[in-house]
């Protein structure tokens, strides 16, 4: 996939629409994604926040955002976006808002809101063809409440509601639900997975999405240092490993047609990714849990073999894109 606009890191804006000093955790993968996402979006943005970690972005009387922001509730940020988009269109039609003052409406949710309590309002907004952006910062659990299992939690992860005990040594035993595929069912104009470790891929996708009217949906895998039990400084490394091991495929779907925007030449073993995170420590200590590790590797292999048409875990014929 050839990038049209974001060819080098220098292309990324030096403007900082997201100020430092917010109350979010050190090394928050979601915040880093939001920063890059906002740079690519540019000005004239209204964020619509669902309950989640980003609830605390603005705490009275401070906001780190130069753009406008409204907090709704956990289930209904996409519905809130509908009200704003419609109101902006009404004001434009009445001549009360100049076209150049129009705003991009951007929903911010975590995976708990996106996958569970807010799935209905999201599906409805996509169905109505709402012209909006949706950024799901997916840290694979209910992060803000202390890392409880969500429908995004991967197989084998420890969470606050799937603690590791002698009678339950494997962690979460549900497979991660594929939100990308759920959203893709309705063939939104633009849908992509992104990672803060791949800023050019991320920015280019926002650039591409801007050409479409309608739902423009993004799911970012965002390492959560306290929940994933990793050092904040490893946040970007672990995000990169998720892509390099094939756990987090970078892809897009235009009107439902999928293409991968980055294909690792050789997939690293999932172990490289799992070992860095305390939430998977029980798979390696005190005794190695080969069965669970193999299960996770098989799931990744099976995904990529469908993409590459190759039974091998490594998509050998795939072309790598250097970012």
């Amino acid at each position: 996939m050839k990038r049209e606009h974001y060819k080098s890191l220098r292309t990324i804006s030096h403007e900082e629409p997201l100020g430092p000093g917010g109350p979010l955790c050190a090394g928050c993968g979601g915040l880093l994604c939001l920063r890059l996402f906002h740079k690519a979006l540019g000005e004239n943005v209204i964020f619509v926040n669902a309950a989640g970690c980003f609830t605390l972005l603005a705490s009275y009387p401070f906001t780190p955002l130069r753009s406008s922001w409204i907090y709704t509730a956990m289930a209904c940020a996409p519905a809130g976006a509908q009200g704003i988009r419609d109101a902006l269109d009404i004001l434009k039609a009445k001549g009360n808002l100049a076209p150049e003052d129009d705003r991009k409406v951007v929903v911010l949710t975590g995976d708990g809101a996106a996958q569970d309590i807010g799935l209905q309002s999201t599906m409805a907004a996509i169905h109505r063809g709402l012209d909006f952006y949706y950024l799901c910062y997916d840290n694979e659990a209910y992060g803000n409440t202390g890392f409880q299992t969500s429908a995004s939690t991967p197989y084998g992860s420890r969470t606050a509601t799937c603690p590791i005990t002698t009678s339950s040594p494997h962690g979460n035993l549900h497979e991660r639900r594929d939100l990308f595929e759920i959203w893709r069912v309705q063939k939104p104009p633009y849908l992509a997975t992104i990672s803060a470790a791949y800023p050019l891929d991320l920015s280019e996708k926002v650039y591409r999405a801007a050409k479409f009217t309608g739902p423009k949906l993004f799911i970012a895998l965002t390492p959560c240092p306290p929940g994933w039990d990793l050092d904040p400084e490893w946040s970007v490394d672990v995000a990169r490993l998720a892509v390099e091991t094939g756990v987090w495929p970078l892809k897009e779907a235009v009107h439902g047609e999928v293409s991968h925007t980055f294909r690792p030449r050789q997939l690293k073993p999932v172990e490289d990714y799992l070992k860095r995170q305390g939430r998977f420590r029980h798979l390696f200590e005190p005794k190695r849990d080969d069965e669970t590790i193999a299960h996770i590797q098989t799931t990744v292999n099976s995904y990529w073999s469908k993409i590459t048409g190759n039974a091998s875990p490594a998509p050998a014929e795939a072309q790598a894109t250097v970012t």
Binding site: I46, V48, N49, T55, L56, A58, S59, Y60, P61, F62, T63, L65, R66, S67, S68, W69, I70, Y71, T72, A73, A75, C76, A77, P78, A79, G80, A81, Q82, G83, I84, D86, A87, L88, D89, I90, L91, K94, N96, L97, D101, R103, Q120, S121, M123, A124, R128
Partner: protein, 414 residues
């Protein structure tokens, strides 16, 4: 001005039309649906410039209503019963953000058991949210209350949303003559929406609904909301007076019926008050000095007006068409607390629960209520305990249903 035969629901739609609302997020529920269907028909016929969107739930509907108001347009929406409680979280959010929209609630009793008929547990569950509440008896009042509600809600000293309540079926589907004011007249009373607060579409960035990490801040903002309801009570006479001057219909906070020389007062709300008024008239013909006070505005609660209307009476019966299970009538408690400080408060104040799930008053029940408040209270418990209206005939009827259901309970003797 023209006259039309309109159901309560159609009058609500006309209220929205004449208020020239910009935006209607909608979700169907019986008995409200006729309101959004009427608006949809006008919109698709190009008769009004309003934009409507059908949402996936009342929760989403209210979310869109709130954010649209926060963006700076005039918003109207409607629901009933289960829908109101489904969207309940957003009622607090809308009021807390101080967004002046109007929501019509067509009352319907809450499940379980499921029913379509009205009582007021739905709307009164929202009494603590910060929404202003206007309860209507007639189709005309539904329409007029919507216009007055926008005036009040959008006033910079108020900035609170409003609920207009009408009873499902008894008013929602009853056709009555309604005077439709001319649009120019309405425009003069209620000019197009011009927000006096920071909106999302404005030139400066705003953060709305930011967390407060200090309890004093939370307290401050809640106090502000409460103060805004005081402002509503102060503004009400002026706005109702202006409305009366322009349209010829005067609405008090309380509708006073045959109260002038009344020793005994029945307190009611909404469309069932029409039955109460007919009964009061009948009892008057028998020489009874009885009147009826219908609470029209329930939030803000009109303390001073209630004191004025009820002080010095010999006996008051509060008929609640709701039940706070484990306590009794919701409005009874509110009225009792309002009267407590008066030295000339009515010595007899008795609570009755009637009209649950649309239950009609039975012959003799108003005579019974009057007889009860004509008699001095024998012990304080009599005032604290609600009287649950139910007749032996109904008991026997219920017994028949039990028999069919195989329960076999004998209710003949109760």
């Amino acid at each position: 001005m023209t006259r039309a035969m309109l159901t309560g629901n159609a009058a609500a739609a006309w209220g929205a039309r004449l208020a020239q609302v910009d935006y209607v997020p909608a979700f169907p529920i019986t008995p409200q649906t006729e309101i959004i269907e009427t608006l949809a028909r006008w919109i698709t016929a190009g008769e009004i410039a309003t934009r409507m969107v059908t949402m996936d739930s009342e929760h989403s509907m209210l979310a869109a209503a709130g954010t649209a108001a926060a963006t700076g347009v005039r918003v109207f929406t409607a629901t009933s019963s289960q829908g109101l409680v489904y969207g309940f979280e957003m009622l607090y959010a809308i009021a807390g953000l101080r967004l002046p929209l109007v929501l019509v609630n067509v009352s319907r009793a809450l499940a379980h058991p499921i029913t379509l008929e009205p009582d007021h547990n739905d709307v009164l569950s929202a009494r603590d949210t910060g929404f202003l509440q206007f309860h209507a008896e007639t189709s005309q009042e539904v329409l007029d209350s919507i216009l007055m509600a926008y005036r009040l809600a959008e006033h910079p000293d108020v900035l609170l949303p409003a609920i207009i309540n009408l009873d499902g079926f008894y008013l929602s589907f009853t056709r009555e003559t309604v005077e439709l004011p001319a649009l120019e007249e309405v425009n003069a009373f209620l000019p197009p929406f011009a927000p006096t607060f920071s909106v999302l579409s404005g030139p400066e960035s705003v953060a709305l609904g930011a967390a407060v990490l200090d309890p004093s801040l939370y307290t401050y903002f809640k106090h502000q909301m409460h103060r805004a309801t005081d402002a509503t009570l102060q503004l009400y006479p002026k706005i109702a007076g202006e409305f009366a001057e322009r349209f010829g219909r005067r609405y008090g906070l309380i509708d006073e019926f045959m109260l002038d020389d009344a020793d005994y007062v029945i307190v009611m709300t909404n469309s069932f008050a029409a039955t109460g008024k007919a009964e009061v008239k009948r009892l008057r013909q028998q020489g009874k000095r009885i009147g009826l006070a219908r609470l029209r505005v329930i939030r803000p609660f009109p303390h001073a007006e209630i004191q004025r209307v009820l002080r010095g009476r010999k006996g008051v019966a509060v008929v609640d068409q709701n039940i706070s299970v484990g306590k009794g009538g919701i409005l009874f408690g509110e009225i009792a607390s309002t009267l407590y400080g008066l030295t000339d408060r009515p010595p007899v104040l008795v609570s009755f629960i009637g009209g649950l799930g649309g239950r009609r008053f039975r012959p003799g029940e108003f005579d019974g209520m009057l007889a009860r408040i004509e008699r001095p209270l024998e012990n304080p418990g009599e005032m604290a305990e609600p009287n649950l209206l139910f007749t032996p005939n109904e008991c026997r009827e219920v017994g028949r249903f039990f028999a069919i259901a195989g329960e076999g309970e004998d209710t003949n003797e109760t």
